[in-house]
């Protein structure tokens, strides 16, 4: 029988139980930051007007996400696109480690609820920022009429929980299905199925997190 639980796997750092997912997230973030600093030194500092080599890919990713965000949130893209891209990078690299047999950090409800909290803060800050303070935000919340305001506030609180539980459920269920397949057919078939559950699925979830954060921001600032 598989051992399935909603609680995080315990992991002790200097005698304090911080959970395995937090340690995994720290390791992934350390690697990611090292990679980004190297990228900054090797590529971004030497940017030329006519791109060559790696600069093409950097521009492709940054510009692509910026343009995608512009299509969703318009002029707020300068503020929202970097946040959305950071969330996507975090989710992508913390989930893709499952491909190397490591426990992904997003398999833990604490991690995904932290991502949901980031989305909640982004939505509210951009709501205040682009609608002109508290009055504009409240006016935006009672958009069709004042009666819908409680429902829209409730939606604002539920949306991050929905992001969190969706991400958690997707990653956890993908892991469980992979383990079941390993139990039944230990050779050949897992390699084929892993290309969906550990590679493509990760990309889809990353895309979904970015898209949902942009859509909730666009609802807050419209």
């Amino acid at each position: 029988m598989l051992n399935v639980t909603l609680f995080p796997t315990p992991c002790y750092v200097f005698g304090v139980n911080v959970g395995l997912s937090v340690v995994m997230a720290w390791c992934v973030m350390a690697l990611l930051l090292t990679g980004l600093v190297l990228l900054n030194i090797l590529v971004v500092r030497k940017m030329k007007p006519a791109p060559t080599g790696a600069q093409n890919y950097v521009e492709l990713i940054v510009d692509g996400i910026h343009r995608w965000a512009e299509g969703k949130v318009g002029h707020a893209a300068d503020f929202v696109a970097p946040i959305s891209m950071s969330l996507m990078a975090y989710v992508f690299f913390n989930t893709i480690v499952e491909l190397f047999g490591l426990p992904p950090a997003t398999k833990d409800l604490n991690c995904t609820f932290a991502i949901g909290l980031c989305v909640f803060i982004t939505v509210n800050v951009s709501g205040f920022k682009f609608r002109g303070g508290l009055r504009g935000r409240i006016k935006g919340l009672c958009n069709p009429s004042a009666i819908v305001m409680p429902i829209r506030i409730l939606t604002d609180f539920i949306a991050p929980c929905s992001i969190a539980i969706r991400l958690f459920a997707n990653i956890m269920v993908g892991g469980i299905i992979m383990e079941l397949i390993y139990m039944v057919v230990p050779i050949i078939l897992p390699a084929a199925v892993a290309s969906y559950f550990n590679v493509l699925h990760v990309g889809i979830q990353t895309f979904v997190v970015g898209l949902l954060s942009l859509i909730y921001v666009s609802e807050a600032i419209e």
């Binding site: 399935v4 969703k72 269920v173």
Partner: protein, 78 residues
Amino acid sequence: MTLGLIAIGAAIAALCGAGAALGMGNATGKAVEAIARQPEAAGKINSSLMFGLIMMETCAVYALLVGILIVFILGAKA
């Protein structure tokens, strides 16, 4: 007896997939019709379709999670 009831509970949770499938099929069909009628609006239609599909997929994934939790957590206890 208890294991059988747990299995039936998981099966009922999985019924949610039928609703999600109906919704996804309906939405995709309508989107294809709309693109056939107005091919230049394909980009906008695709992004709205994607949002709707994500919402429906969430519903199905919740059902899957509930089903799996019923089977593995309640089933391990029984």
